[in-house]
């Protein structure tokens, strides 16, 4: 064997550093965006916060479907269970959303494991699995919508408090604390994703995604790890739901469990890069502002777009165009394609 070849092989005996490239990137990104709310106007800050919520939702989908290869069309369920768990506990019992978040994460994880187990028990895979996740999420929406015990279609208004409270996750409108709270939660979700990707569970998830039978043949307990991955993904989805409710101070069945939420969860990593750590963040930075940009255009369109005045649905059209362009030209998403090019050099 030539000297050159020997040198290309890494020494597997060196201990992996905790602060690898992803951790360094996380620290840099967080440090860079911390002062953002002090620089943004109120309207811009709400867009920035939507980016944070989108990123959490996208990260959640990406763990189950990107790393784990289990295509979910029902991530609204996890988001909604988080949102509703914390709302019910806060409104009915005055319990802090932090506790509500932990409960919501647990409820979403248990729901995810039960639905996952049922699907795998009946050997649902691919499209059928995706349809089952969609059906279960819709079932939850309909149950919540028609159940007076959880305020049916009316949903929940988070009771307003005077002043600021980190314990109750509530701040005056325009407070930078909302952004910082969201940033803390997103950092936690990103950290969880990085740790997941380098963990045994993450490696097993990828092996199962690549070839379930081969993974099983080398001793990986496939069902157990699939359910574990779903539980992690569901928990992160619930965090997004809790923060959404605390920021908008309102949740109803459609906002929480609606199919639109599940589609958002898919689009974010698909545009950013499925199965990558940073893809959902890139996707959310692109997609989250679309609503506001299109709303601004429709409110006051430039002369050549006069015909759009008073119309709606432009954001959905732009989503569609964006997704077609990404699938055609960047099938691995924006971050995924860049990463591919860099690693092939």
């Amino acid at each position: 064997m030539s000297e050159t070849l020997i040198q290309t092989v890494p020494s597997p005996l060196h201990k992996k550093k905790f602060f690898d490239g992803n951790m360094v990137a996380l620290v840099i990104i967080v440090a860079a965006v911390v002062p953002l709310p002090l620089l943004l106007e109120s309207g811009q800050e709400s867009v920035a916060i939507r980016i944070l919520i989108f990123a959490m939702l996208g990260l959640s989908w990406n763990i189950m479907s990107g790393f784990g290869g289990m295509f979910s069309f029902g991530h609204a369920a996890y988001f909604g269970l988080g949102a509703y768990s914390s709302s019910i506990l806060l409104v009915n019992f005055g319990i802090s959303p932090w506790i509500g978040m932990i409960v919501g994460m647990a409820v979403a994880a248990v729901y995810g494991v039960i639905v996952g187990w049922l699907c795998f028990r009946y050997k649902l895979k691919g499209t059928y699995f995706a349809l089952a996740t969609f059906a279960f999420a819709e079932m939850l929406r309909i149950i919540v919508q028609s159940s007076q015990a959880v305020n049916a279609a009316v949903g929940y208004n988070v009771p307003l408090i005077k002043g600021s409270s980190w314990w109750l996750m509530q701040f005056p409108a325009g407070s930078p604390n909302y952004f910082w709270l969201g940033l803390i939660l997103l950092t936690g979700c990103l950290l969880a994703t990085i740790m997941f990707a380098r963990s045994k569970t993450g490696q097993f998830a990828v092996a199962i995604r690549e070839d379930e039978e081969a993974a099983s043949s080398i001793g990986i307990p496939v069902l157990r790890y699939k359910l574990k991955v779903i539980a992690i993904s569901a928990s992160i989805g619930a965090v997004a739901g809790v923060f959404y409710t605390q920021f908008y101070l309102f949740i109803d069945p459609e906002l929480a469990f609606g199919a639109y939420r599940s589609i958002e969860a898919i689009l974010i990593p698909v545009v950013g890069g499925v199965g990558t750590i940073w893809g959902p963040l890139v996707g959310s930075v692109l997609l989250a502002p679309l609503n506001d940009i299109t709303a601004a255009i429709l409110r006051n369109p430039p002369p050549f777009l006069d015909f759009l005045q008073g119309q709606s649905g432009l954001d959905v059209m732009l989503y569609a165009v964006l997704i077609i362009l990404v699938i055609l030209f960047l099938p691995k998403g924006i971050f995924g394609s860049i990463k591919d090019k860099v690693t092939r050099k």
């Binding site: 064997m1 070849l5 020997i6 290309t8 092989v9 890494p10 597997p12 005996l13 201990k15 992996k16 045994k200 490696q203 097993f204 990828v206 092996a207 690549e210 070839d211 039978e213 081969a214 993974a215 099983s216 043949s217 080398i218 001793g219 990986i220 307990p221 496939v222 199965g275």
Partner: protein, 245 residues
């Protein structure tokens, strides 16, 4: 010495199709059993039943004196009875090193130990210089070695090898045969399905011949190649070619 693997009256039917019927044999520790037979004889189905890929319709499989007939493939693999596939099935997006390390981790090795063990195995099978490449970039011969490396990471006591030489040109075969011999010399029991008679003759202590899902013959390689029924059903004049090699 009690057999490490004991198959008794094993059968598997798919609807009306009887793929394997009433197959029985024992394998002693450290023994090499070659399994041959024409296409469709039930060799891979036999492996699938033995390895826990799907349950047999009839019969039992014992491994280390324990009835493992209903064990899953994952449980069997962790216990040391590991199979490889005829069509290579690498985890395409992972590097070659990660492919092997993930198998070591599945056995229970800690992350750092798994990487170190994977590295040692890659050196042993001659894939160390491909360690950082993604496995989908490997040539066929490399993928075959990777299948073996992944199986070895589980510290197997019994290896079920399904046509490990298929797709290799003759010059690529001998190094793999040498590798199998070295695995055997480490005390691993080998059961292998193979069409390359050169390898069957070189490796096997005993040969099981299947035809239409049933045992046609069982014996030492020289006994089997001299069996007129085996010659008629499978070998034809190939045996002459093997003898002359």
């Amino acid at each position: 010495m009690s057999p490490i693997v004991s198959v008794e009256h094993l059968g598997k039917s798919f609807g009306g199709l009887r793929a394997v019927h009433n197959v029985s044999f024992n394998v002693e520790p450290g023994e090499v059993l070659g399994i041959i037979g024409p296409n469709g004889a039930g060799k891979t189905t036999l492996f699938n039943c033995m390895a826990g890929m799907f349950p047999p319709s009839t019969g039992t499989v014992h491994y280390q004196s324990e009835n493992v007939t209903s064990w899953s493939d994952a449980k069997l693999a962790r216990a040391g009875m590991v199979r490889t596939f005829q069509l290579m099935r690498p985890f395409g997006s992972m590097t070659v090193l990660e492919n092997v390390a993930v198998a070591a981790a599945a056995r229970g090795a800690k992350e750092r130990d798994a990487m170190a063990q994977a590295w040692e195995i890659l050196q042993r099978v001659g894939l160390d210089h491909y360690a950082t490449r993604t496995s989908k970039d490997l040539p066929t011969a490399g993928l075959k070695r990777l299948e073996l490396a992944r199986a070895m990471a589980l510290h197997p006591k019994v290896l079920l090898l399904d046509e490990v030489l298929a797709g290799l040109v003759p010059t690529e075969r001998q190094p793999v045969i040498d590798l199998l011999l070295s695995i055997r010399d480490n005390g691993v029991t080998l059961l292998f399905v193979e069409h390359v008679m050169q390898a069957v003759m070189a490796l096997s202590d005993h040969v099981l011949v299947l035809n239409h899902g049933e045992t046609l013959a069982y014996g030492t390689p020289s006994e089997v190649v001299a069996n007129p029924e085996v010659i008629e059903a499978y070998l034809g004049d190939e045996v002459t070619n093997v003898d002359s090699q």
